[in-house]
């Protein structure tokens, strides 16, 4: 990984850590907006989700699953390209472009 990437990842970590140190309730911004709309007179959602995760635990399972699936694919693609370059480099001694 390049030095540039390392610094940028540190930056991302900082962006997440600083708010946590500052403190707050950390509810969803979307829930706040939804609360504003729900507070309007006569408002009721006219359609409800066909299935809802029965608890916060199950919801977090789904989010973890989504992130894991995505990370799996990205890791596979990065690894495959890396391996392919290494394999090609062995034969003729030059670095071919990414495929």
């Amino acid at each position: 990984m390049s030095r540039r990437s390392v610094w940028m990842l540190l930056g991302v970590a900082l962006i997440i850590i600083v708010p946590l140190v500052m403190g707050g309730e950390f509810g969803g911004a979307d829930a706040e907006v939804a609360a504003l709309i729900e507070a309007r007179e006569g408002f009721a959602p006219w359609f409800t989700p066909i299935w809802e995760p029965p608890s916060g635990e199950v919801a977090s399972l789904m989010f973890a699953l989504q992130a894991a699936l995505g990370a799996l694919v990205i890791g596979y693609v990065v690894g495959r390209r890396h391996g392919r370059r290494e394999g090609l480099r062995g034969k003729d001694g030059t670095t071919p472009p990414t495929v």
Binding site: M1, S2, R4, S5, M8, L9, G11, V12, I15, I16, V18, P19, L20, M22, G23, G24, E25, F26, G27, G28, A29, D30, E32, V33, A34, L36, I37, R40, P45, W46, F47, T48, P49, I50, W51, E52, P53, A59, M62, F63, A64, Q66, A67, L69, G70, A71, L72, V73, I74, V77, V78, R80, R81, H82, R85, T95, P97, T98, V99
Partner: protein, 222 residues
């Protein structure tokens, strides 16, 4: 943030479906031609979809004391152009609407317009503009992904304001009110998304010169 199930009046829900549909159809056509003409790009395409999958699953705390999530649609828009991301974005939105009750089926059209159409188009536009201005590669990618993210949230804010104008101050008043909740929350997250997009593009394209990275990912350079 996605607009929740049943939160848009039926007329708006249908209207946004109608607006988004042509973009998604055009995206599907474009996606087919990319897959057919550039089989080497298939891997990058999978990674671009996966990136949107990961990022939209991450609810990140922000300085305002509330959480929101990035969108991850900028990467694919930079590499393949915005059309392709309309299809990949809709897949992500469907997954979240059906399995997590996050977003919704009635609001899918509106959410697709914000996250899968406006975000990628803005990201792509900024990327092209930055290139023309001669900005450095990492800076251009960063700006494209961050501003694409912000554009998605601005779009959602306007969609909600259109559906629920303030009784006193009207559309603008509602936009300011919803926007005040999103805007500050989203700025640090947009920065995070910009940084992560540069990191992942770098990881995907490996040890290549910056000027060759996108062409290599798009399957144009061999």
């Amino acid at each position: 943030m996605h607009i929740m199930e049943g939160f848009l009046p039926a007329s708006h829900a249908i209207g946004w479906y109608a607006v988004s549909a042509p973009f998604v159809v055009a995206g599907a056509v474009r996606l087919r031609s990319v897959l057919r003409d550039k089989p080497e790009a298939r891997m990058t395409l999978a990674a671009a979809g996966a990136f949107a999958f990961v990022l939209s699953a991450l609810k990140i705390p922000s300085v305002t004391g509330s959480c929101s999530h990035p969108t991850g649609t900028g990467l694919g828009a930079i590499v393949f152009g915005p059309a392709v991301m309309s299809v990949l974005g809709v897949i992500v939105l469907l997954f979240q609407a059906v399995l997590m009750a996050h977003g919704g089926l009635t609001t899918l059209g509106a959410n697709a317009f914000a996250m899968a159409i406006v975000g990628p188009w803005v990201a792509w536009g900024v990327w092209k503009l930055a290139g023309r201005m001669g900005l450095r590669f990492a800076v251009a990618v960063f700006l494209a992904a961050s501003l694409g993210n912000l554009a998605t949230y601005i779009c959602t804010t306007l969609q909600l304001a259109l559906a629920y104008p303030d009784p006193v101050s009207g559309f603008m008043g509602a936009a300011m009110k919803f926007g005040s909740i999103f805007a500050l929350t989203q700025v640090p997250l947009a920065v995070a998304e910009g940084l992560l997009t540069v990191v992942v593009i770098e990881a995907l394209s490996g040890k290549t010169r910056d000027s060759d990275r996108i062409a290599a990912l798009a399957g144009e350079a061999r």
